[in-house]
């Protein structure tokens, strides 16, 4: 995957977040403070602007710029967390001009580690980690098993979606949903839902760009 691929991934996220904004905000209204959709929409709109203004020339550069922009523009819990995730992914990719699926898989693990370090959440705490961790695992597993990028991203996206849905019955232990105690159960975590959008965007980009998918009907 080249720089262009990562730029398109960011554009795809921007579009997905714009489309999902009100849904994310509604999820946040139920167990948080009704701003998650607006937060990410503001953030990724700024990412698109930043990428257009100062186009990076490496995949790592794209992700670091995206992460820094999220930190600068989002605020809230998700700003520093997603910002760190993208920055740490970008840093893991170094200066490489082209990135393999295996490299991206381990970058995703670096991003997850960044979120964990900063936010201290474990899996099962009903946060974005519940979507990001299974996604990173699924991607690594598929790549290890010899899957191509498209398969790896599809597996990651499916795992993220599943992880997000699986937050519904959980009782939150991190973030503001934790204030609700047992009442947080029964609702999907907005951050897990947005992670599913972000990883889903990766699948969408790969599917669209892959020669295999282009040859399909």
């Amino acid at each position: 995957m080249d720089t262009r691929f990562f730029v398109i991934w960011m554009e795809e996220i921007t579009a997905a977040v714009r489309a999902g904004r009100d849904h994310l905000t509604r999820l946040d209204a139920a167990i948080g403070d009704a701003d998650h959709g607006t937060n990410l929409d503001r953030g990724f709109a700024a990412v698109a602007e930043a990428l257009a203004a100062r186009p990076p020339d490496t995949p790592g550069g794209v992700l670091v710029l995206a992460g820094s922009t999220l930190i600068r523009k989002v605020g809230g819990a998700s700003g520093p967390l997603y910002g760190t995730a993208f920055r740490d992914m970008g840093k893991a990719l170094g200066d490489a001009a082209d990135v393999s699926a295996a490299e991206l898989a381990s970058a995703l693990e670096a991003g997850l580690a960044g979120v964990r370090r900063l936010g201290g959440a474990e899996e099962g705490d009903k946060t974005m980690v519940d979507a990001l961790a299974p996604a990173a695992r699924a991607m690594a597993r598929t790549v290890d098993a010899g899957g191509d990028p498209e398969e790896a991203f599809a597996a990651a996206a499916a795992a993220a979606e599943e992880g997000a849905k699986a937050t519904v019955p959980l009782v939150a232990r991190k973030g503001r949903a934790s204030y609700l105690g047992a009442r947080s159960a029964g609702h999907e975590d907005p951050g897990a839902a947005s992670t599913a959008l972000i990883v889903g965007a990766l699948r969408a980009v790969a599917t669209r760009r892959s020669p295999r998918s282009e040859s399909r009907p």
């Binding site: 403070d33 930190i71 520093p80 609700l180």
Partner: protein, 330 residues
């Protein structure tokens, strides 16, 4: 949703334009969303910076001025400010004696202020933090993000601000700020949800006779839903929760705070019951605030915040203050 706004996207900026026009004692950096004391930085004085999501007015911008904050960083509605903004405020108020960040304990605020503190440190500004976490409705345990910071922010900002104004060094200002927080407890009750401009509808629905107990200040539901009842009973629930956590006794600073949509008349009715409750416990409300201080947009409801006073804290509370929302002695 009917609100007095121009556009959902410009709510925070338009508010800042109003603050700038209304208060010549402040210098408002509208582009970067920072409310400064006009005379900041004051050489040799510890600077105080606070911030948090918008929608809690007058917190924090209304507490910028002589004897209290040097700058406030309002984020978007219910969204903590971003690191750049906080760094700019921090360097902007640094008079060489270091800067105190007063941070309410929410993941977003904590992370963004932490990042800002690191970046400010890189720029050679000494930064210390007082974390405000007074809300007894939330258990401080492994299973939560810890207690929320609510009404005690006003107490910390006033009292630490007075000490900073008196020329105390950063370590002292931090010490007294932490002491205020340790001695403070809050509990809130909502009669309605609030409506964020972006969502356009109430964050939750309450029946005609339902209320939420143990709410925070971000429109989130409380710990439990309950039946509405008379003010006296509601106050008993709130005060019992506070007293269970830190038994009330002696001289107490008390704030009865409105959530934004509750008229002053009702807050006085609540205050009468709070004062009666304290008396029952052998405590006295020696210092008092009644009004809208830490709000949740248009939410109906109230919170009570108490702080067990010491002579030092009382003296610092009484020290002159001159801000849009709190003013005496000048």
């Amino acid at each position: 949703m009917k609100k007095l706004i121009n556009d959902v996207g410009s709510v925070v900026t338009d508010t800042l334009r109003g603050v700038a026009a209304a208060h010549p004692s402040l210098r408002v950096d509208i582009e970067n969303k920072i409310i400064f004391r006009r005379d900041a930085p004051r050489p040799g004085k510890v600077g105080l910076v606070s911030g948090g999501g918008s929608g809690h007015e007058p917190l924090h911008g209304g507490y910028v001025g002589y004897g209290m904050l040097d700058a406030a960083c309002p984020g978007e509605i219910f969204t903590s400010p971003v690191p750049d903004q906080i760094v700019r405020a921090t360097t902007g108020v640094n008079g060489g004696a270091g800067v105190l960040h007063v941070v309410k304990n929410y993941t977003g605020d904590v992370l963004n202020f932490e990042m800002a503190a690191e970046l400010s440190d890189d720029e050679g500004v000494e930064v210390a933090r007082v974390l405000v976490d007074d809300d007894v409705a939330v258990r401080d345990s492994l299973y939560t993000a810890g207690r929320r910071g609510t009404g005690a922010a006003v107490f910390v900002e006033k009292i630490a601000g007075a000490l900073a104004e008196a020329g105390a060094p950063l370590a002292e200002v931090v010490r007294v700020g932490r002491e205020v927080n340790d001695r403070s407890r809050s509990f809130g009750v909502a009669l309605s949800a609030c409506t964020t401009p972006a969502a356009g509808r109430p964050t939750f629905e309450l029946g005609e006779r339902e209320i939420e107990l143990g709410i925070g200040i971000h429109g989130e539901p409380g710990r439990t839903r309950a039946a509405h009842r008379e003010a006296r009973e509601l106050v008993r629930i709130a005060m019992d929760a506070i007293d269970d956590d830190l038994p009330l006794s002696g001289e107490t600073l008390v704030m009865v705070n409105g959530m934004g949509g509750t008229p002053l008349m009702e807050l006085y009715i609540v205050f009468a019951e709070v004062a009666a409750y304290l008396k029952e416990k052998g405590a006295t409300a020696t210092r008092r605030l009644v009004g809208n201080h830490v709000t949740s947009l248009d939410m109906l409801g109230f919170s009570v915040t108490t702080c067990a006073l010491t002579n030092e804290l009382t003296r610092l509370w009484d020290a002159p203050v001159e801000t849009p929302a709190l003013r005496w002695g000048r």
